[in-house]
Structure formats: C-alpha cells, structure tokens
Symmetry: C2
Subunit: 610 residues, 2 copies
Amino acid sequence: MSADLATLARMAQKLRRHSLETTAEAGSGHPTSCMSCAEIVSVLFFDEMRFDPKDPSGRDQDVFVLSKGHAAPILWAALKEAGAIDDDLMSLRRLGSPLEGHPTPTCPWVRVATGSLGQGVSAAAGMALGRRLDGSRGRVYALLGDGEAAEGAVWEAAQFASFNRLDNLCAVLDANRLGQSGPTMYQHDTAVYADRFRAFGWDVAVVDGHDVAALRAAFAKARATSGRPFAVVARTLKGKGVSFLENKEGWHGKTVKKGEELAKAVGELGDTGVTLSLEARRYEPAPARPGGEPVLDPDYRLGQEVATREAYGTALAKLARVCPDVVALDGDTKNSTFSERLKEAAPERFVEGYIAEQNMIGVALGLSTEGKIPFASTFACFLTRAYDFIRMASYSRPSHLVLCGSHAGVSIGEDGPSQMALEDLAMMRAIAGATVLYPSDAVSGERLVEQAARTAGIVYIRTSRPKTKVLYANEEYFPLGQSKTLRASAGDRATIVAAGVTVHEALAAHEALAKQGLAVRVIDLYSVKPIDAETLRKAASDTKAIVTVEDHSVCGGIGEAVAAVVAGFAPVTTLGIREMPRSGTPRELLAAHGIDAAAIAAAVRRALGR
Amino acid sequence: MSADLATLARMAQKLRRHSLETTAEAGSGHPTSCMSCAEIVSVLFFDEMRFDPKDPSGRDQDVFVLSKGHAAPILWAALKEAGAIDDDLMSLRRLGSPLEGHPTPTCPWVRVATGSLGQGVSAAAGMALGRRLDGSRGRVYALLGDGEAAEGAVWEAAQFASFNRLDNLCAVLDANRLGQSGPTMYQHDTAVYADRFRAFGWDVAVVDGHDVAALRAAFAKARATSGRPFAVVARTLKGKGVSFLENKEGWHGKTVKKGEELAKAVGELGDTGVTLSLEARRYEPAPARPGGEPVLDPDYRLGQEVATREAYGTALAKLARVCPDVVALDGDTKNSTFSERLKEAAPERFVEGYIAEQNMIGVALGLSTEGKIPFASTFACFLTRAYDFIRMASYSRPSHLVLCGSHAGVSIGEDGPSQMALEDLAMMRAIAGATVLYPSDAVSGERLVEQAARTAGIVYIRTSRPKTKVLYANEEYFPLGQSKTLRASAGDRATIVAAGVTVHEALAAHEALAKQGLAVRVIDLYSVKPIDAETLRKAASDTKAIVTVEDHSVCGGIGEAVAAVVAGFAPVTTLGIREMPRSGTPRELLAAHGIDAAAIAAAVRRALGR
C-alpha cells in the first residue's frame, strides 16, 4: 500500500502546515523543529512503519519514539493524518488536551514521555530488547535531533544497542544545524555523527533528510540490516519550506503570527490538500507469554543476620521463577546489589547495563512499555546519575518500574562519601506518584520486593550494606502507607521514628532508655512514601516528642516527611547527616554523624528535658 | 632529571607493593585496580609531569585527576614516594586520615573528589580550559578505567575537549579488561576505545600499559600534539605482577590477606627497594590576574515587571565587568536563562556547554579549581541530569560553584511537565553544605547573584520564567539565612511562607483575606537553605497556623523545611505540587495545583477553621 514519492512529499508539506497552524494558534511551540523532520515523519508514518492506526498498543507493530520531544506538533499531525487520533489539532498545549507541549502518554500513542533531550534512544533500545526477549517482530524507530546528540546518554544507548545486537532498532538523526540558542556543535557536518555511530557499532546511512526517495531507501537498508542497529543521519534545514524560517537563526521555539505571517508561510508550502488512508499493517502475532503472579515466601529465622541488599537479590530470584515478566538490570554492581541472584535463576532475563545508569533506567522504562516488570539496581548514590531519566520516567506513567539502590548512607563505611547515598530519599520522594520503600531486615526486604512488583508506577527500594538482624516473622505483611510499631507502652514519653539500619539503633536506644526508666515508642517507617500519617499523628499525640533518625541527609528525607505530618502535634528532632562524611568504619560513622543508639537516646533525653 | 626506564619499572612494582599492603591493612579497597595502572602512574609522576612536590597548588605545574577513584591507594603511594605527602600510608581508610577510600580534597593534592566514575575528564577539561583562559602552561592528566568509559559523560567531556581544542589535556585509559562484577563491555579490544576517541576528535596512541618506554613515548607525543586533546589507550592487566591476581575475575575491590597471602604477593613483585628524589619542575609563571570584587547595584522601579531569570542575566553581566574571575556556562539555553548577557559583556568568559549538563557541571568544577567563580545555568529541570556531578562536586569542596536553574515549576505553563522543575529544591537542599536561594523579584534576584559570588561552596539559585513585580528597593540587602517579612501586624492569625512566584500569590491572598477581616503574615523565604529558623519560629508562636506555598513538589522543598523548623510550635499546611502537571497556561496551572492566591486564602481559612 506504499504511497508514491510525490504523495509522501506532499504529506510532508501538509504536516508542516499543521505544525505552523497549531503552534500559531497555541501561541507557543517549536514549528521550525517540526519542519526539519517533515519528510522523515511522512516517510516513517505513511510508508515505512507497519502499524494499525486503530490500535495504539504497539503489539505486533512497529513503534515510534520522538526523542526530540519539542517536535510534538508534527507527531500529533501525523497521528491525526494517519487516522490514529481524532483530537482537535488546534487544542495543542491547552489544559486538558492530550496534545501536550511535549509528548506524554496522555495520548495513547506515546509510549514514553520526552522533552528532556537525549533519552529516547535508551527507551527505544529497551523496547527493542523487550521484543527480542518475547520473539516479537515489530521494529522500533527513534527520531532525535542533532543538538541532543551532545548528551552522553545518547552514546550510552548507542553502545547498549550495538552491544546487544538490536537490529530491530533504527535511529534517525535530524541534523537541522540549529539548536535553541545558536548553531549546534557540528552544524551540517553529518560525517561527525556518522563516524560516531560507526565507532559505537552501528551501521549508518547519511541522506538528504528532505529527499523522500533517499529516506525510503535508507529505511529499507535499515530493515535489511542484521546483527546491529542502524542510524539514518539526515541533513535537514530547520524551518524547511518557508523562506523566512528556513535555516534561519532566532526561530527556535518561536511561532509565526496568526494572520498575514501565517498565511504567507502556509502559502509557500504549496499544495497541502493530500490525504492518505492508512490500512492496518501488522506482523504475525508474537507467541503468547506465560503469566505468573509475583508471590514469594521469606524463609528466615528471627535474629538471623542478613543484609537487606541480599534479601533483595534472594527475593528477586524467587520472583523471576514464578513471574516471567520480571526482568532485572544492573550497572556492573550485581555482586553488590545481589541482583546476580536473578541472573543465576533466569539468565535470559538479566540485562547487564554496565556503568551507564542513565541508559539503564531508559532501557528499563522501554522494557516496561513491553509489559515487563523491570527491577533496575545499582548503588543508591549512582541512581543520582539517572535523576533526569527517573523524573521523565514518572511522566511516562509506566505500569511498572522498580528501582533498587543499595549501599545507602554512611553505614557503608570505609569507601567514603562518593559511594554513600545521602540524597536518594529526597530525590525519590520528590517524584510525583513514586513509592519509596526502605526495609530494615530481610523479611521486610523480601516482602517489599513483592509489594514493588505488584505496585503500579515507579517504586524505589532502598537497601543497606551491613547485615542486620531479622526482626519480623516470615508471615508478616507490609502494606504500602503503613508502618510497624515495634515498641509501645501506655507510658511512652517519646517516639523514635526510624527506617532501615537506624531501626536497629532505635531498638538499642529503646533498651538503653528503658534501663533509665524512660519508655519510648519505636516505629519502623518502612513505607517512606506513602507515609503512615495516622500512626505518626497518634504517636505525636500520645507522646511528648518525636525523634526521627535516618542514614540520609536531614533535608528531604524521613525527618522532614514526618515533621510535615505531625507539625502542630509535637516537636520533632531530626537526626540525620548534616556534614560531609569521611571514610571510617560503619560504627564510627553512625556515631560521628549522631545517628547511632547513643545519639538517639541522648536526643530523646534532650527533647524531654532530661 | 628523567629517571631511567628500569627505575620507573621498579617504582611501578613499589607502588603495587604499597597498594597491596595498605589495602590489606585497611581490610578493604581495590588493590588490583591499582596494579593495572602502576606503570602509568610511575611514568606520569616520576617522569612526565612537571610539578613541585612541595606545592600542591598546581600553579605553573602539571596536574593529575584520578577519574578511576577506587585506585586511590596508588595515588597516595605515588604522592608519598614523590615526597608530596608525609601521611602514614597505613592509615588508608581510617577515620581522620586524609587518605580516604576514594580521593577527596582532604588530601591537598586532590583537586576534585572522584569515586563516582566517568566524571574526571570533565573536571580535567575545565582545568585545561581555565589554564588557557589564564595563559597558564601546566598540562592536565586524567586517568580513567575502561569500565567507566561506558558512562556517556566521558563522551560529553571528550567532545567538549576537542571542540575547544584543549591540547593541554591528556586522558589515559587503563583498559584492564575487568569491571566490578565481570568483564567490561569491550575487554581488551582497545581498538574500540581508540576509534571512539578519534571519532570524538582526539589524537590517540594505543600502548601496552605495562611498557614504561611505550608510555613515555606516548606522553611525549601527547605533549607535542597541538590543536586537540590526546588519549593514551593502555592495554593492561588487572592485578598485574602477582600470579594469583593478574587478569583474574573475582578480585575487584578485594584485598589480599595479611600474612602468608600478602607475603606471597609482595614476594612476586621482586625488588621494590627503589627510591626516587623528585626535584621541583615548574613552568614559567602565568601572567598575574587582575582582581575585582563582585559588587553590583540593582536599578529597578518598585512595581516594574521583570522575570527573575532576566535579573540573573543582568546581574551576571554586571559582575563579569567588575570581577574578572566570574565565568558563565550554559547548556544551549542562554537565551532563556539570560546568561547570554554575560556572553555579550565578556564573550571570552562565556562557555557554551551545549546540551550536555553533566559535562557542564564537571567543567565548571574544574574551572573553580583554577580560581574562577563559575556560574552554570540551564532550565532547573535539566540540572537533574547532573545530580551525580553536583553531589560529587560538593565533596570536592569548591571555593565557588554557582548553579542557576531557570523555568522552575508549573508557572512555566504550556511546555508541559518535562520542562518544569519540581524536584530541584529537594535535590539541592539534600546536598550537604549547599546554599539554596530563590528570588521573588528582580532586586532580590540581582542581590542573590551577588551573594552567590561571595559565598563559598555550592550555591543554587532558582529563577522563574514569568515576569514578576519588583517588591524591594534597590538598596535592600538579602543576607543568607534570613527572610523578609513582607506583611505583619499584631493581629496576624496565620503566616504564609512563600518564595519565588508564590510570594506574589501570597501577597494577593493577604489582600483578599484582609478584605474578609483576616490578618495574615507573609514571609518571603528567599534563603531556602540556610533557613531563617528564628523568624519562622516566632511567626509560628505569634500566629495560629503556618501555610507554606511553593511551585515545587510538596516533598523535600520549602514546606517540609519549614515544618521541620516549626513542628511543635504550630500546625503546617503545605501547598505545592502533588500531582503530575500537564500543559496549560501559568495561571491555569497555579490554580489547578492549588498554589495560587485563591488556594492559599482557602488554605488559611481551613487552617483557622473559618
């Protein structure tokens, strides 16, 4: 059903017209960034890609990722012209319209939110990998700009794709020469991009991005390439097709004015009356995937010493055995996070991301769009590397995306501050809709992994390096948004709120204070977000003071979360990391930073004026 | 004074011995990662680099960055053998010793903290650029591992260095084949790394990294290369020199046991009795740099409408005129952050970082070590891209490092969530020692830029997209750790704490409530961290309720910071972003997320039960 070349070229002009008109109506947006890729989008949507305009699921179809998200208007235009959406294009950027300023899954054809540049290829690689895991034939196309090729994450994705021989992945680089505030680094020197993609293991075609025949030929070559991904490096002109916009500086993110200016621009586009009726094109269905519920049975003895990071790995391996959708990714730390246990249990579902955390999160997100339940782990401090990817992943509203950060806090000891996550709770709590879990022992560790697999959206699990005593019976259940009150009596004078390693310090402080005749309540806040406001407020009412203690910065973590909930009910003392840590033993550092049992007991006494 | 090749080789063995012995004593560390680079370090420190072992300032000398920070023990060993430090090598990783598990500036020879991989080349590029700006001749050497070459940030740094023709920069890639949890992506295929460096514009030599003659020749070639940076790709063996460690898996981050095992390992190294007396080698002194104090005079009218991001640019340009150390960096957003105003005022001190935020921060940090006062700006949301770099920069304890994030919050409007920073306050507050500033008008904007230039360490300035009314007189001063009480009366029933755009909403709410006979206090919390605890506690005592309002996530920002300070004094209602935003107009979004004047007034009435 291929359209002829002249029709594809005319469709490109029509897409330009939509881009100009909808952004002019909205009064903001990036029409010229759409115009450079009009032929690319026309050829992809109306010739190359096999998809069913009535089915946005992507199942047994080719899928598309607009990495250069600011070109959203041309994506909406192409979807409309393809009969895939029936939204009013003129609602672009209006509150309530799925046609947002940058793509989000509010439009069902958008698999991942884009708009922070340099992230689309990682997600596309994850989709391509997911398809290979499932034996599904649909190809994945990602369109990126030349400006965003400066992002190192693009090259992380490039190396991942070639290393994993993802020949179902095709990237198109729209080299339109002009960035937001001036020319891009290499302008129209397309050889630079071609050399780099080749050096990163890709096959490459360099084409005139406004030549529909050349584009079609390049995509055919990409489709025929096996064993490696393919990059189409397209030389284009920003604002192409309108004399006063084309290849001109000063027109990034700027719309033409409605009225005369718009009429002049549209007039220059010539005949835009073409319509194309797309018929559904699908691949043969992929094999059905076996189902399986994520359930597990912890098997520990009370008092046994097990690190929560180890419990994470154990639980992950158990989940993988019963739930075929579970996959794990790691950043060359699998022997420390214990994700290697999944690799032993189900090697085909372990993805080694090497030391490239941004790409690891992007790939995990892409896998999620293919129906997987990805668990991505590394040292918690190194998840900071991927914060922008995590933020954008939240806007992608993934069915599942579990992150695990191990080696949290100063309790790692001698390796020093570079390896200590002290910001991860703040970082993850600030993500809208994210769930933040923090086990204190092996049973809660396993149970929270189980919860994570059952919870929609982004779930963060924080694990610790040191071994800690098992506190809970294997049957204990850990619902989100609740907590465990480990010590309580009618005479409690204060409440200690702790999580993770500090739960054990809090219990020791409880014991020490009890010997001094001071009864205190101890709460294990394993669900940091959502938080158990009810129990905390009751504790604040029942007792005279709250002392929080966390192996994390005092800013943005457990202490402030608790304070916001109990303010007005009781004063809150927040114990946590205030100064830059140094190398030392775990015990020395817990003491030096005032979060060990002695410091907690002292804080309780101070809070009670004793 | 060059040492002969045999002596350099023996020094390498001695450095191996130190690495084995000190990590065995510490009981943790990465001896095998040190052993692969022993010849590289020996040739660099005892032959190639020109430096004065008595002067760690780096002035008129070559400097070294250990990007593969886990090889710290061999750095300490080399410094000790060179006569540069007199610390006991056996104090490695002990609390209080400057010889930390990964390098930090507690040792004066460490210019930037390392240990999160893939960051050293960016910092080194910043140093190289700073030297060129100052006409200083010392070269910069960065040693990285093959595992960390998977980090995209390495390639951001590579492209930056070649784009800026930094021929005073030399990177050495220690390709020892083995990562933490298994082989690296390309193991001993050194051609991959050579191809990539070449594709990114570098000259390259591939050498046997245990051949001191080959290394010396490569460094000579690097020194003679002009117009581009130089990479030495060295094929090495992890654990080289000891039969049971050499090229063996399972020995990452593992020490040999004291006693028999250590004796056997040391025995295999042969003669390690060499000593070398290094004499000072320096370049001719760089030209003296003119001084200049960062002072400025805002020039606005009360009520004038100016965006704080524009005030930032205006202030930056003024500072550049009076203070030659001020430099600006941006990530292709200079026309939005207004850093382009500095470019107009002092083009030679503007660094275009293109869309590569990690490298931008790394370069800024490197510039800081050369005595600059760098201001690095982009959209606040894109600073999340560089969170790991920011975290590590804090451990580098820079004299100055100012970050500016513009376009904060939902008040940007139509571009949608990908462009809205909702996590930046949480992220920056969690950094130990960081200062977080948030101007609400042009005068405070300029004054806080001035403060930032005078404040040591990391300072974050959050600016807004919309124009806001000038609230303060040009003479107003904004000390860190204080706040401005904009409305107050003896009869205040509640206190609204706001910052940035919400200050203006708070003032409107105050007016609306006044009309209803309800007096409320309004505080502009321009210094988010350090926070003005005294004023907040007084307000909490004086009034019955606190309502905080921020264009940011309710987690980790202003609301929780205030709650932690006033808990016990008054209940706190935190208004902020709780749900994922969409595209819409600024006013629609402020209303939809409950942070406009009407929502604030309603919250005050609710808090007072009215």
